[in-house]
Symmetry: C3
Subunit: 138 residues, 3 copies
């Protein structure tokens, strides 16, 4: 007998806000708004929050680009727990920063995963540079 009810869950989205995004006064969940893929509809591009439709082991990764005028710092959360982060210092005006990170997470149905940018930090939100992706491992 086969495993039944196999569903596919996979998404990929970009933060496209017209250029530099931030700094803001408080931590901000990034609502990656240009969606390439959202199989299973588990990623909400209005809120930036992925909600696990089924329990399972998932993979998540994010990448960002940032100008050097401000520092950058992004945190990947599972519910209220910070799982991995990527950051860079303020650098001279000629420079730019790239970063990213990834995690494999065991999620229960309804667990939420999202990326937050810390207060006083920024990212480059244009040119398909800053992305968030994830999928269910079968």
């Amino acid at each position: 007998m086969c495993e039944t009810g196999k569903i596919k869950v996979a998404f990929s989205a970009l933060l496209q806000k017209g250029g530099a995004y931030g700094p803001f006064d408080k931590d901000t969940t990034l609502a990656y708004n240009k969606v390439h893929t959202n199989t299973g509809d588990a990623y909400n591009s209005c809120t930036g929050i992925f909600t696990a439709p089924v329990a399972g082991v998932y993979y998540f990764t994010f990448f960002y680009h940032a100008g050097g005028h401000h520092a950058s710092e992004l945190h990947l959360f599972k519910n209220c727990e910070m799982i991995v982060r990527s950051s860079d210092h303020k650098t001279g005006s000629d420079n730019a920063d790239n970063g990213g990170n990834a995690a494999v997470l065991q999620l229960q149905q309804g667990d939420q995963v999202y990326v937050r940018m810390l207060a006083q930090k920024h990212v480059w939100a244009a040119d398909n540079s800053t992305s968030f992706s994830g999928f269910l491992l079968s």
Copy 2:
């Protein structure tokens, strides 16, 4: 009854051209030429182009290293559409740049995915530093 005809598609390759690669006068598809894995033979190391052998949801990621003497800029394409990119400015001679990005893509059979380096940009094509990988999500 089980899903049948499941195939495995997964590849990983490096750009090994003996050192700095570029800048060139025009945009160049990167033919990652040292292949670690090419299950399903969907990646062509002569052209640098991955061609989907079956419709499905795929994951792709690329990473690069570059010296700071020139700017770097790589774009991941699906057919004629730029999906994600990673770039960095020219920096001082003491510095180096790292970058990368990833995407989950719904592909039809025959869709092509590849990485292009823009004109006047460069990457470091040695030392197993600059890679392109992808696989079919089952």
Copy 3:
């Protein structure tokens, strides 16, 4: 008839050593010690070594953050072969480096995959910044 005996193998771990880690006199396997996920128990957080429990195609990725006071250089190995690496030069004291890489690898049962930091290099081993993840593609 279905494929039977499907097992799930997936892990994700962080290097948390209280701050800057290295430089050391010799190459050092990074024992990523804070484990988020270790489905199938194939990753050993004491040694930093992933040992394939079954033959198959696997995906691995690592990301790191490093201060600019020393150079950074991490190599992903399959047994004795260096597969991919990521590195950055020493930069000024105001700067920081990010890097990472990924590979899809065909492994036989018992093959080992791990990340080594080269002698005289360092990484930032705190704040959930430096990670190593992998999983079996089904």
